[in-house]
């Protein structure tokens, strides 16, 4: 942790802290929704630690609660999580750690840790930001989920506080730097349009992957 504090400035750490706080609040609503749908506490708790990928867990809980098979729900969740493969391709080698640390470094790969890593200018700071955010999410997502499951019914609709707008806002704020490049912006907008157009017709997760077709616009 000391090396993390040395390499990222205070503002960078504050940004990561705020993102983790947002993750905690989304975790609260996730845990509360899970128990309200009839799951015992251990289901959202185990999912949040072992899967550690919010969107796929919401989907898993939703499908099983609606009477779907848990295996079908797992496959749907995997489709949503398939974007982690291109994330692994995009990260420079060494960011996720070396040797045994990489076992954990691989597990903490998520939208937030990847986007914070990409936003840093050099490999050492990419690694520091990736780990700070990854470990923060590893603490806050399960923490939020368990706390949310415990207070369950006491928690009212978290959407009322606009918390659902925080996740896209965090990601958008962090890719804005890349979007200043006209070519990247064009490709990103095209990718977003493709994903939106495909959403009504394809299972969750696929539209985002399909957005990759916009890569042809980046020569």
């Amino acid at each position: 942790m000391r090396s993390i504090r040395r390499t990222i400035d205070r503002r960078g750490l504050a940004d990561i802290g705020l993102t983790c706080l947002a993750v905690f609040f989304i975790g609260l609503s996730y845990g509360a929704i899970a128990v309200a749908s009839g799951f015992p506490l251990w289901v959202p708790a185990a999912l949040s630690v072992l899967v550690l990928a919010g969107a796929s867990e919401f989907l898993f809980i939703g499908i099983v609660a609606a009477g779907g098979s848990p295996i079908a729900a797992a496959l749907a969740g995997l489709l949503v999580n398939s974007r982690h493969l291109p994330y692994g391709l995009a990260l420079p080698p060494g960011v996720t750690g070396r040797g045994w640390r990489r076992l954990l470094g691989t597990h903490v790969m998520n939208d937030e840790s990847v986007v914070f890593a990409l936003a840093q200018p050099d490999p050492e700071r990419k690694r520091a930001a990736y780990w700070a955010c990854g470990l923060g999410v590893l603490a806050c997502w399960p923490g939020g989920a368990v706390f949310g499951a415990l207070i369950g019914a006491a928690l009212h609709d978290t959407n009322a506080f606009g918390l659902d707008a925080m996740f896209p806002a965090v990601i958008l704020a962090l890719i804005v730097k890349d979007l200043r490049d006209a070519r990247t912006r064009r490709a990103a907008l095209a990718g977003a349009a493709i994903a939106l157009a495909a959403t009504p017709f394809l299972p969750a997760g696929l539209p985002v992957l399909l957005g990759l077709a916009a890569l042809v616009l980046t020569p």
């Binding site: 295996i71 982690h84 994330y87 506080f161 606009g162 707008a165 925080m166």
Partner: protein, 108 residues
Amino acid sequence: MKEPTTLVVAGLAVLSAGTYAARLSGQLLRARITFPPRVARLLEAAAVILLAALVATTALTEGHGFSGFARPAGVLVAGVLAWRKAPFLVVVLAAAAVTALLRVLGVS
């Protein structure tokens, strides 16, 4: 929970193991092949495109349909603020505040 516990545990195991495999395989592929700098840049652009597509779908859709106006309006305000280099805290809180305010006013 209507489903038998063993089946839920099996689904949980499939989802966790598969997700870990997705996280690992991209890195292994990257370590095995040395990409020319141009391709490395392309891979980073791919991540930005994925993230942009994720922003669009999480801001504008819920399930297979439209999410309503409140959430995308909040994200739009956040985007404008971020473009104008507002601090991260302001950007993220503005998204939540605008969305919450619109819902108080009855805009879903």
